[in-house]
């Protein structure tokens, strides 16, 4: 018993969680001694929510190595005992293997996808008819707030980090990420944020109910459930920043010999760009939520107009992160789609350099558009015009990408299997989301449709039709590599078609609802909107059910699918040149990169070679035939 509690792991994490709670209580007891019992139980909760998870991470062993090192004690010998997974239990401890961490990330975030989706189903059940159906107004406001927060901070952002965690080091020919222990810590920060946000439903006064935007002063005066968001976001944000730094250092310093920047696969470029965005922008949302926490906990007056606070300042700081966040949630998807389209169309990516430069252009422009979320906020009027122009101009690099993908398809040999279907679904749906984005840049139109269902439609075309479709595409595409098994192609196609059809039936009518005048974030609505809302609700239930096909396919294939070959897609990039799943340190010999990543159709083209002259073959491809000796 005591040995279990002394060794790093989940039991010790539980023990340390309790110690953290006790420590917080002690701190408050001392504070109350000085202040004359000024601190209420909410104060205790806030301190405990910050301290206990950190204690739990210590208990889990996330800091063990650094503590030993800092204390001058002999560090653990580098026997790689914390590396790799030999049984399922290895996924429930601090593990330094990027492949294990990648799967931890992906599985955890898909759990939150299902939770977030379920919250959406509850919302649609409530909205099926006007008036009250199942939940009261406060619970409804909580549903959409937690739905958005969970799916943004616990699904889309981390699932991309997870997929990239798995494949990015393989793609650049590295044995692991640059900072494996930091990588493990980044992952374990995530469940804390997720559990905290979900736990808010049990808070007195209900969960946080101010939207994922948490505008002050509504959030500074909300019941204690708000703190679960305010503090939870800090953990998710810290996780993002640490992962992004890790990616940047890994990409800059750990590329295989010969892997110049312009020989990197576009997924690597996309995560390089995304990581730049994360590192620069995420501190701003951390700041915005610390402001809220200080207003709530210590009575600061950042956003209290009566005491000289500035309400609009919150929105500027918040959107300075949260607009770039849209690209944080989209650029990795661009990377995934570039990989899949090239491989599945059997052609090089059209205009590779422009694809890379357009990513960087989006990064730069992404920081200059935040106030387009504030066209009706009452901010100074002149700033709307430059923000309109920059917002619209972002469509140019995005357009370059879309047209280049189309040109990549042209005259290819299109393998229309599940990853490709989702990639093509992304291409069509994201175009619609992008176009409504350009419409929303136009200030006079935004004045009418902001805060309506038009916005709900737009954001779901971007994040569901855009990001989620690329995530599904990526999961199917790398499933053989990650699990060593093949998924069921028939079920995959069924999943695509049900998702694609009912996604459109759910979200397309919302454009009309919004322009007609239905505001968003409402628990009840005028009678005239009843028909469309019922239609949307029914479609959304089927859309929700379609994810069960996916879940079944993944679980069943992982357990008993046919064994996957090393390179079932005949891809050139390095992750496919090792076994499925890859060896524990990825490459037995370091690869040397000698050409571009997408040279499909070029006779004799090679992307990487292994030391000792054994060339990475472009396996059995007819185009490679002439080059064969």
């Amino acid at each position: 018993m005591t040995t279990t509690l002394r060794a790093p792991g989940l039991p010790r994490a539980g023990l340390f969680l309790l110690i953290g709670a006790g420590f917080s209580w002690l701190l408050l007891w001392v504070a109350n001694g000085f202040s004359g019992d000024q601190v209420q139980w909410e104060g205790y909760l806030r301190v405990a929510m910050i301290a206990s998870p950190l204690f739990a991470l210590v208990g889990l062993g996330a800091f063990d190595y650094w503590f030993y090192w800092a204390a001058g004690r002999p560090t653990r010998p580098e026997d790689h005992s914390g590396h790799g997974a030999r049984s399922w239990k290895d996924y429930f401890r601090v593990n330094t293997d990027h492949k294990v961490i990648g799967i931890q990330y992906v599985v955890t975030s898909f759990f939150f996808l299902f939770v977030g989706g379920l919250l959406a189903m509850l919302m649609r059940a409530e909205l099926a008819q006007p008036g009250r159906q199942f939940v009261d107004a406060n619970a409804f406001n909580g549903l959409f707030s937690v739905h958005a927060s969970i799916l943004i901070f616990l699904f889309i952002i981390p699932v991309f980090a997870g997929l990239a965690n798995y494949v990015l080091p393989l793609m650049i020919g590295a044995p692991d990420m640059a900072f494996p222990r930091l990588n493990a810590l980044s992952f374990w920060l995530l469940p804390i944020a997720g559990i905290m946000m979900l736990a808010s439903f049990f808070a007195p006064g209900g969960s946080f109910a101010t939207g994922w935007t948490a505008y002050a002063p509504l959030s500074t005066t909300a019941p204690v459930g708000q703190d679960f968001f305010t503090i939870g976001v800090q953990f998710a944000g810290a996780s993002s920043i640490a992962t992004a730094l890790n990616f940047l250092v890994t990409i800059i310093t750990m590329r295989a010999p010969g892997m110049s920047f312009f020989r990197m696969p576009l997924l690597v470029w996309a995560n390089f760009s995304t990581s730049l965005l994360v590192v620069i922008a995420t501190p701003f949302i951390a700041a915005s939520q610390f402001f809220i926490l200080l207003d709530r906990g210590l009575g600061f007056n950042f956003f209290n107009a009566a005491n000289g606070g500035d309400v609009l300042m919150y929105q500027h700081v918040f959107w300075f992160y949260s607009h770039p966040a849209v690209y944080i949630m989209m650029l990795p998807g661009f990377g995934i789609v570039s990989e899949i389209l090239a491989v599945k169309a059997r052609k090089p990516i059209f205009g590779y350099r422009m694809m890379a430069f357009s990513l960087l252009a989006i990064v730069v422009l992404g920081f200059t558009v935040w106030a387009h979320h504030m066209f009706v906020s009452g901010m100074q009027e002149w700033i709307r015009i430059p923000m309109m122009v920059t917002t619209a101009v972002i469509a140019v690099p995005t357009g370059i990408k879309i047209f280049s993908w189309l040109a990549t398809l042209w005259r290819g040999v299109l393998h229309l299997d599940t990853p490709m279907l989702f990639a093509l679904g992304f291409l069509t749906m994201f175009t619609l989301g992008g176009i409504s984005g350009v419409m929303l840049a136009m200030i006079p139109l935004t004045i009418h449709v902001s805060d309506t269902y038009f916005i709900v439609a737009h954001i779901h075309y971007v994040l569901f039709g855009g990001s989620l479709f690329t995530i599904f595409a990526g999961v199917y595409y790398w499933f053989p590599k990650m699990t060593g098994r093949m998924y069921d192609e028939k079920l995959g196609r069924l999943h695509f078609w049900v998702t694609f059809i009912f996604f459109n039936l759910t979200f397309a009518p919302m454009h009309l609802l919004g322009v007609e005048g239905m505001p968003r974030r409402v628990y009840d609505y005028a009678e005239e909107f009843a028909g469309l809302n019922l239609f949307i609700s029914i479609s959304s239930f089927i859309l929700g059910l379609s994810t069960l096909v996916f879940a079944y396919n993944i679980v069943a294939s992982w357990r008993g699918g046919p064994r996957a070959a090393a390179n079932p897609w005949r891809a050139l990039t390095l992750e496919w040149q090792v076994s499925s799943p890859p060896p524990i340190f990825n490459f037995d010999t370091v690869p040397t990169v000698v050409g571009g990543p997408y040279e499909y159709g070029v006779p004799g083209a090679v992307h990487g070679m292994f030391k000792g002259g054994a060339r990475v073959e472009q396996p059995v491809g007819a185009a490679a035939e002439p080059a064969r000796e």
Partner: protein, 365 residues
């Protein structure tokens, strides 16, 4: 036949299938149909202001500009799926190694950029159009609070007229000055197409010229708490005569207080019932009770909360006071908890609360 020849043969066939003519034809037809469909849909609520037409026209222009781009992308995808999908026997084939085409890339960078900048210039002119100052603007203060709007019509002499429903005169330009008592709200009349946040600590403003007699919903478009969905009121656009009559009626207190609620309370310090009731009615109006509740005597017709003409009938003064101060203690049938703010006990001064309770008790008898 060697493998190389086979590859070339297949490439040759695929090139032959890459003709662009059917794609252009199909795309053009689909684009025309898409634009026609987009323009046929009745998107907007009935326009009722001079701001509505330019915005609706902008929408049409945006549809005409963007639907063809959307259709172009769809057509290319579908065409590629149809023409270039892998056929049996092509499992091991690759496409031609085309790495790019500078001219094409310049074209699809420059054309969208020109299109987008053109749209920006047009949108800018529309913006100037709808925000232009008009001669003879009438000022109306819009005050948002959880969860109701109060409208103030300043008068050159004395206190402004107040109402919980918005009254506007047809054809007369109005300049709204928005304030908020608590959190951020957003004052939106979809029929006018204009909206803006009411932000605590600052006054924001926008202009509207109503053009059509009728009643239109007023909506709060910024999440403001539990009752956000219910923060819906009505805007009445009236003809000149009706508007004058309504203002006179409001000024005389027939549906809205004409004086500050505190004043009458101070004047009626004797505690005499009649005066106290008159003060109570002003409290009722100034606190925006009519935004959610119906009460015939005060001309209020809100539907968010219980109809006070019905529910107050069997209640005595203490019960009415409790229902205001602690609305969750006992909830009228058919309504949920936590919709009515629970802090009126703090925000309404005690003398005004007394006046309100005795007024409600009196009118419900």
């Amino acid at each position: 036949m060697g493998p190389g020849e086979d590859t070339d043969g297949v490439r040759e066939r695929r090139r032959g299938r890459g003709s662009i003519v059917p794609l252009v034809l199909l795309g053009a037809i689909a684009a025309a149909l898409g634009v026609a469909l987009g323009l046929l849909i009745d998107w907007f609520p009935t326009p009722a202001s001079t701001q509505a037409d330019p915005i609706d026209t902008l929408w049409d222009v945006l549809l005409i500009a963007s639907v063809p781009i959307f259709v172009l992308v769809q057509s290319v995808v579908l065409y590629c799926v149809w023409k270039f999908r892998m056929r049996p026997g092509e499992e091991l084939q690759d496409g031609p190694p085309i790495h790019g085409n500078t001219r094409l890339e310049v074209v699809w960078t420059v054309i969208p950029a020109i299109l987008i900048l053109g749209l920006c210039v047009y949108a800018y002119s529309v913006l100037n159009d709808i925000e232009e100052a008009q001669a003879g603007e009438r000022r109306i203060n819009v005050v948002g609070q959880q969860f109701t709007w109060t409208f103030e019509y300043p008068r050159p002499d004395g206190e402004p007229i107040r109402s919980t429903q918005l009254y506007l005169e047809e054809g007369k330009p109005v300049r709204f000055f928005l304030r908020s008592e608590d959190v951020i709200h957003d004052f939106w009349v979809p029929a006018f197409r204009m909206k803006l946040d009411a932000v605590p600590g600052i006054t924001t403003e926008y202009r509207v010229t109503p053009t059509k007699v009728g009643t239109y919903p007023v909506v709060c478009a910024e999440l403001c708490g539990i009752g956000h969905a219910y923060m819906r009121q009505t805007a009445h656009v009236l003809s000149s005569e009706d508007y004058e009559a309504k203002m006179r009626e409001l000024a005389e207190g027939g549906g809205g207080a004409s004086e500050a609620p505190g004043q009458a309370g101070q004047g009626g310090g004797t505690g005499e019932e009649g005066e106290s009731a008159a003060a109570g009615k002003q409290v009722f109006t100034s606190q925006g009770c009519g935004g959610c509740h119906a009460l015939a005597d005060a001309g209020a017709a809100g539907t968010t909360g219980p109809d006070l003409d019905q529910v107050l009938r069997d209640m005595d003064a203490d019960q009415i006071r409790e229902a205001i101060v602690d609305p969750n203690a006992e909830i009228a049938e058919g309504f949920g908890p936590n919709i009515m703010p629970g802090n009126y006990g703090d925000t309404i001064p005690p003398d005004q609360l007394d006046a309100l309770v005795s007024y409600l008790e009196e009118v419900s008898r």
